[in-house]
Amino acid sequence: MNLINHETVVKRMKSRLSKNSISKWIFFALTMFVLLILGILLFRIFSQGFGYLDLQFLQSLPSRKPENAGVYAALIGTIWLMAVVAPVSLLLGVGTAIYLEEYAKDNVITNFIKVNISNLAGVPSIVFGLLGLTVFVRALAFGTSVLAAGLTMSLLVLPVIIVAAQEAIRAVPNQLREASFGLGATKWQTIVRIVLPAAIPGILTGGILALSRAIGETAPLVVLGMPLFLAFLPKTLLDSITVLPLQIYNWTGRPQVEFHALAAAGIIVLLVMLIIMNSIAVLIRNKFQKRY
């Protein structure tokens, strides 16, 4: 007796194979569509902004004359902002994640905190701006300083970092921890020498995403009342700064077309900064990934 009807199989095989190739092409088309949009975006920005992109653009303060205008103050301000946001948000975020994953008991309160942290990640950035305005700018009287802006941005990206770090720590195999305990290591030794090194690639990925968001955010800084035009550079944490997204936002709103081109050039500078940041992080990640 023939258990398999070869005729039916052959008949169905054709439709299955064609379904297979159709779905392949659909997904290929979707990917291409996304790439195409990205390509158009990049093309528009580069064709518009490239003419203004030179050393003078990086070294000049903003000006009413487009040919003299530059992003110097904003660029330095962005670097200062990152210098505050990166350590503050990473320390707080990873610390919280370690506590929640390694120390905290699995009870209702811990779960409540975890759910709320995930919710915070979805809160509109402008709300964090209002929080920063009330707490850092007004109540603690930091004014529109690097510190106030940096702390506000840190709060904004904190949930993202915590969630990513939690996932990364959870993904470390339990056997590693048990082996470490078995050798007589304390909890702290296990966390520092075993868990964190294994989790660092994941933590960094989340951290990079978070910092990339912080570098491009405008809304909370507008709410804080950060100045747009500065004729001086920050020297201490309590000095005012202006940052690239604010400068770009301002230029796009101007009536003169030349300023729109300047905005495009500013976007290119911002993109380059992002690429540099990302590649440094990728490098660190690859270094640690080799160990496990």
Binding site: Q59, T144, P227, L228, L230, A231, G253, P255
Partner: protein, 320 residues
């Protein structure tokens, strides 16, 4: 693959270094230029915030001021007229830019905090009402026409409602967002604080309004004169009849006040105590009044008559 990564990284790091090096070179340059100046060099900090409409004027003034007084650290924000006044009341700023006169409740808030202030008029902006280039029927509108077009009354507005000779097509409206001083001014002069047509497209970015009117034959919109001046070739401006015949907005009619009632003054509000106690604030406001005429024209606004500036300079002297 690996060597490619290394190569890419090296390229990026070189980029960083180039940027850093370029930034480092900047510092010394600014100081040299100042060596020859004979004016007294002041030190201090001035914080300015407020209207984004006034921002370009302030930016230009601060840019020029920085060349004569590099020791004075001036920062200019653009939180909008209302947001600027909030910071002004909180005592965070010395100057507050505004594209409308101060409101009673804002003045009351300042009084409560014991902050005396002086209103300084900087320039004029002519709110320009524009239509699409292909619109060949509208030449001028009266204030009543504008009211008919812009105030919500539950009906769909057609051009033929305004003038029976015009096409019976729906008017598409484009207006600045309700947070802007531009809207506030229009609200006061045209809308009489009645609601604006619900279907109107509101945007905080005036360039979006320009694009909107450019793209729709039945569109009408309004925004600052500078946005019209930049897009003269692709927009058609409507003459406004304020009772004395139709007037087109241009530098002359706006300065003389002939383009009424849609030409509005732009202000900055100064804290009196700052003028008295901080020499750099007095010096800056003086510089501001002496240069506002040229610099505001530079960035697309219209200067006040000469006498207005001299009068305000006299007032400044009494405050010192």
């Amino acid at each position: 693959m690996k060597s490619f990564k290394k190569l890419a990284l090296t390229a990026m790091m070189t980029g960083v270094l180039a940027i850093t090096a370029a930034c480092g070179a900047q510092g010394t340059e600014g100081n040299k230029e100042q060596a020859g100046e004979e004016t007294k060099q002041l030190q201090g900090e001035i914080k300015i915030d407020g209207s984004s409409t006034v921002f370009p004027i302030m930016e230009a003034v601060v840019e020029e001021y920085g060349m004569t007084q590099p020791g004075v650290k001036v920062s200019v924000g653009s939180s909008g007229t209302g947001g600027g006044f909030k910071a002004f009341i909180a005592g965070e700023t010395e100057l507050s830019n505004a594209s409308r006169p101060i409101k009673d409740e804002e003045a009351a808030g300042l009084k409560e905090k014991g902050i005396d202030f002086t209103e300084v008029k900087l320039a004029f902006d002519g709110l320009s009402v524009v239509v699409n280039k292909d619109n060949d029927w509208v030449e001028s509108l009266t204030i009543d026409d504008l009211k008919k077009i812009w105030i919500e009354d539950g009906t769909t507005k057609k051009w033929s409602d305004i003038n029976p000779d015009w096409p019976a097509e729906e008017i598409k409206l484009y207006s600045p967002g309700a947070d802007s001083g531009t809207f506030d001014y229009f609200d006061e002069v045209i809308l009489d604080e009645q609601p604006i047509v619900q279907k109107a497209t509101l945007s905080e970015d005036d360039n979006i309004l320009v694009q909107g009117v450019k793209g729709d034959k039945n569109a009408i919109g309004y925004f600052g004169y500078a946005y019209y001046a930049e897009n003269k070739d692709s927009l058609k401006v409507v003459k406004i009849d304020g009772g004395n015949g139709p007037v087109e907005p241009n530098n002359k009619t706006i300065e003389s006040g002939e383009y009424a009632p849609l030409s509005r003054p732009l202000f900055t509000y100064v804290k009196n105590s700052a003028i008295k106690d901080q020499e750099e604030v007095y010096d800056f406001v003086k510089f501001l009044l002496e240069n506002a005429a040229t610099l505001s024209e530079d960035v697309g606004y219209v200067k006040l008559p000469e006498a207005d500036y001299t009068k305000q300079l006299d007032t400044l002297e009494t405050l010192k």
